[in-house]
Symmetry: D2
Subunit: 450 residues, 4 copies
């Protein structure tokens, strides 16, 4: 999807990198000039790098100096090209992991602990032995301007390289643990975004929005109008970088069509008279935080806040894409499914499907959305899985709801509403997580059965 | 000391507790009414508590509900008396630690790992097994208002109880690891405090100041005057609670007497003409963060900032207490030391010592400050140890520098200046940390030799 | 009173004046060194001053330079003693007024204007001729740091000197017109004050509070507790100086006794359950703004805001002093009034009156509060006049309501509640302003009749 | 021009008007429903309006109610069309001016004043009589949200209608006096604008920029880069509306070509190494404040601030358009001037002039820029007049400096640098204002002589 797939973060411009390097040069300044490594990091330069890393860890001169050296090391990394970065990361992964001898020794102590009290001391020592030097080194970046963002982006780079590369995968996993601690939802700040927000921030939303692409500043302004709400989570050490954000329309009745919401010329509604909050876009903005979940919290905290601000709101629902339907359908057709087979060759690519296709498509889509993987017991559709595991209910299927090229390609133009009903969230979550039971309105259920 | 001994945090008033419980009641509200435990936590109530803790961990209904239950559990804790809290903490310590079977199994997998890649996966699994349920449970408090402060205070309570109680000591150690991650200096915010700062915050400085007690609001205002600087570290999730703070006077020449600085009627100097910044008080405000050090960072960052603001500043030095001198001297006398023995019975308690005692006292004090423990190789005096390990140099010893009762009792009225010279910090730190060499001005050295 | 009598602003400390002069020296710096006048402004120095004033007005070098010269002139004024300031003000008053010839010429043009259009041009020219040079000069102070406060304080000084000195009275009147324009209520900012407010600001409230003196920071903190509200008006160019402020208690029922509200150990109420907002203190903080009224606006805006925040509030009332009762009563006794005469010699000074005196005192006080001056038709009591002209109603008289020395001396310990009922405010105001009719509850009316 | 001609404020959208009317409806709400006038204000509705105005002035029910009625009146105005507004303004102008009888009476008192003291009282009374009811009425708008902006826009409307309409001209003049007092430069706030500023504000700069039109958000971002500075004046009661703003480039050497500065792909310079600040655009944003000057202050305050921030800056200069050159040249040609005549028919419209035309064009332009009106003694060119009266010097003439269509049309592509040298500003200003002497570099002078 969309609500799960993280936005493709725009590549940082050369100008931005220049500035970041500049800022870190100031921090590093007093600790000796940069060594000017070659971008692809040939063997000699790699040796220089190893020395830098060891110095960072040696902590010579106290922690303040150490952070200066971290800035220097960061500058080295940023100046490398893709090949050089691969080498940099492998040096970290191959040579700065835990010390097996130390771990084994701690394990030996643990195994021979005579009682519970000794054992607890031994566990503590073992935890310490299991914390790798590279993580201690990377932690030092949190004190640098943009240092936390640097680590988040480094993890994004690791994720892209980890497949089939166990050392990088191990480094990636350790970095994930570190970031998961820092980005625990308790430390995040929920901010309302408006047209009064800094242009710098709004520009990022436009770049990151992954569900319904932002067409222009005017489009963005429309999404911040008085009958809309726009919320994002931020981390105190990454104040200019949204982590995840949600766009909400305050309307009367359940919105069945996304173009109504994106139409800049539509009249502005009166939010105090709205009875329904439609969450029509939710985007994770940081690839480097994949697998660290905030979406669940964001939706519930926003719903809670809106409920207080607008006592007339009765329903909290999404208007969501159905990203996996068309490829599932194609598989179905290929597999010779009877019902699906009738559609073979009749589905246009970039124009809305004919009205005559509505009954079979709606039925198949309802069936798709209420189906689970046999093994994982998860809903087949990733967006469905996201909302169902949050405790929402599949409420309604909408025909010709998103006739953009993307909407037609993904789901033949259909979209779904998921309903968040406070009283049912816990039970729905339990039933889905425990027995894989999918909460769906009876109309959807009936539709699926044909 | 003082610069190491953490302030005795004032006991929270009943009114404050009422409010905190109130705030948490609102969070907990939707998750069922409080069970109203007895303050001393009899067996039946302990059973209720165990159930609460298990529910928190079960995560039923998603993480949002879990945090609501954490608020409920926190309210239970706050309503207990000392006896009840002891029981509460022991339940956590005895019953919610790591699962030995799970740890042993992870150890077994690690020991049989056939190669490095398997081994890294096994280490990751072992790290996970070593993270106790109680730490997962306590982590949930970070999302509550004042929740981080709650954990800091809980650790203070554990520290007070841990001696001779291995289970609580183990819990304390785990909580320390958790807090050390959260309070990594990279996440802290350096704030300048002025008379424009909120009364709420200033009130806390007055309560926490441990080196030179604040006598009145007028005294505090004097310390915030235009020829002074006052800086503190804060954590984003504890915005109203200073972690550590330092008071600086901008003067000409090295201040030798604390009363000059505390005299409210003294004329205000012109900071732009000052050549010396005197750090005359540094206080750790949170007992529950003992052992997690920021003082080193605070001094260096403040020195850096002042150096930029006032280019005329040439020296950065402290005017510090010598908290351990008198008790060392008494031990010396008791042990029959010749030089010290001459002072036996001649040291007044609450009046300044006679001028005739100046030579032997100065000599003995210089000797004390330049002495180390045989084993730890640390300076005997804790304040000396703190500054020497930061890379400062013992610069000067001052006679009749603090004639308050406390000053006379601790150090016969003497105080010391430690000098922070940017160029020497690294070498001094190295020499002290490595070989235990104490950096001292030649005059002090000569004094010590008599 | 109190609600009308402006607070005695604390004399600015010498230290503050030093700073202000310092700041202005920086502004003035580039325009030549200060001339160092003698504090009592002898004739020679007066000549220097005249030249400074003329230069300010000449506007040589553009307006920026002119403001630099204004800063210089302000520094001269601040360095003068009482005698010197008198001379300074008289130079302004005697020599920098309007130019009679210019005014007369403009009048002549007006009188001969042949039609309405000419006449309007002539009026415009006349308005310009009537704006004195001294006002143009003083206007330049608004660009200086603290410059607006400087003018406000200068008017306070003029008010103190104007009686029997027509030139200073004329200058005072012109300055009043200038300030009335700047301090039009549309430009003021309503701020809520809490324990989070800057100490600098809170210190001023403590100094200015004129109705119930602030005893300590603890007393002030009590007035900012969660069952209280504290609001003040500020001007954007005097951000650290409150203009007027009001203290409100959120209670159940009409408070009849001030000590309940000032008792720091009283339990904190739940504001969401309050049905009554008691305005128990309202103080004008700037003597130099006497006669420019904001109190009316402050009370109504605060009532409006509280009504939105606490929908359960039903009544908005004051608990007010009765400052003029005792002196009225003494006059009555001296004049041989029968009822009052019975009290002659029976009213204690500093102890609460005996219960036996309750009926006659209550009756007389009710009579006093419902009486008007024959000519002005205003209520005799200044606080009564203030609230009645705002449209409030005299609601209740309270026995032993303020037994502080001040309360006993002013009003034999009695206080009054005035009720603000939104629906009646306009009619009450009209009736009072038009026919001098005093709105009072029937019980008070009955009491007055005996 | 440009630096004097005020930006054409964009017409407010219908949506904005809707909101403003909505906000005022809330204020007006409690004072009775809107009467729904016809847009063109027929006679009956005009009668309703008169009654509204009279009620506003009657002040019935206190000032708070009066402001509610002002909101109601403002809503009436906003709902009118051009015809209706003309009638609205004429009612104000014709029927709510000063009372001639009252003015005449005050004049009579003044003329018969026996001494200075009486005279001063009479002047005060006359000033009061000369303040028209309509100004009292309009003043009430300052308390409404956007009320000050409402008056500024009303003056813009009056300016457009005043020519040949003496009553509206008189009303306009009075409103100008009122606004001049409120917008005295001492009350304005200088703000630095960056890419962190609210989008709402940046959008307005893009709309208002009158010298070099903003092409896109990217163009605007370029003007806010780290080697640029962007400052604006704001009024506290119009926080979202810039009054005037200036764009500055920090460069090495005197910039001779505007396209260098507007090129988004040009490399970013290092501002700390710049020696020259080029003021390349200055725009007044509010037509309704025409004739109330801030530009002078803005340039000098910004120069002062930059000088402190960047001690390496040595020159403060503009790169300015020459808006009147081409029309002056055409007049010259038409009048048969010999030198100019040689250019007749050889000046292309929209393409840069040939190199062969450089000598005569540069010579003629230098002559133009150093010429004055015979009567007013002002420089012929309005931009030249603006900078010369600020004390700047005409420093350099630049060939092919602005080859945009506008640049070619106005000045055959030439631009001028004006130099602000702190030491000479006062003398230059004096010489220009007093004797009309134009400060120009000798090279420009030589050029003009040919």
């Amino acid at each position: 999807m969309d609500e799960l797939k993280t936005a493709e973060a725009p590549a940082p411009s050369a100008r931005l990198l220049d500035r970041l390097r500049g800022a870190w040069r100031d921090v590093a300044g007093q600790f000796g000039a940069s060594r000017g490594l070659e971008p692809h990091l040939p063997a000699d330069d790699a040796e220089v790098l190893r020395a830098q890393m060891r110095e960072c860890l040696a902590g010579k001169g106290g922690e303040v100096s150490a952070r200066g050296r971290a800035a220097e090391l960061g500058r080295s990394y940023l100046a490398l090209n893709a090949e050089g970065r691969g080498r940099f990361l492998h040096i970290l992964a191959d040579e700065f992991g835990t010390d097996p001898a130390q771990v084994d020794a701690a394990v030996a102590v643990l195994r021979s602990a005579p009682d519970r009290s000794w054992r607890q001391d031994a566990e503590r020592a073992l935890r310490e032995a299991l914390e790798s030097p590279r993580i201690k080194l990377l932690t030092q970046f949190n004190a640098l301007p943009q240092g936390v963002k640097f680590l988040v982006d480094m993890r994004a780079e690791l994720l892209a390289r980890a497949k089939g590369d166990p050392p990088l995968a191990a480094l990636e996993a350790e970095l994930r643990e570190l970031l998961a601690g820092w980005f625990d939802v308790g430390f995040l700040e929920l901010q309302r975004i408006t047209w009064h927000s800094p242009a710098l921030i709004l520009e990022k939303f436009a770049a990151y929005e992954a569900v319904h692409a932002v067409q222009s500043w005017q489009d963005l302004k429309n999404r911040l109008d008085s009958d809309r709400r726009f919320y994002a989570f931020f981390h105190p050490r990454m104040p200019d970088e949204p982590l995840i954000f949600v766009e909400v329309a305050l309307v009367r009745g359940m919105t069945a069509n996304i173009s109504e919401l994106l139409d800049e010329s539509a009249p502005v509604g009166d939010p105090s008279r709205a009875d329904t909050a439609i969450f029509y876009s939710i985007t994770s903005a940081q690839r480097g935080l994949a697998g660290i979940s905030f979406g669940n919290f964001l939706i519930k905290r926003v719903a809670d806040r809106l409920g207080h601000e607008f006592p007339n709101l009765k329903n909290f629902a999404t208007l969501s894409p159905i990203p996996g339907f068309r490829s599932w359908l194609d598989d179905k057709i290929a597999a010779g499914d009877a019902l699906a087979g009738a559609l073979a060759g009749r589905l246009p690519g970039k124009t809305p499907p004919a009205e005559s296709l509505r009954p079979p498509l709606m039925r198949l889509c309802a069936a798709y959305l209420t189906s689970r993987h046999e093994h994982t017991r998860r809903a087949l559709d990733p967006v469905a899985h996201f909302h169902l595991s949050n405790g929402a209910r599949l409420e309604k299927l909408n025909w010709l709801a998103d006739t953009s090229e993307k909407g037609l390609t993904q789901s033949a133009g259909m979209m779904a509403n998921y309903l968040y009903r406070l009283d049912d969230i816990d039970d729905n979550h339990e039933a889905y997580a425990g027995q894989g039971r999918i909460a769906a309105a009876s109309a959807v259920r009936a539709l699926a059965k044909g």
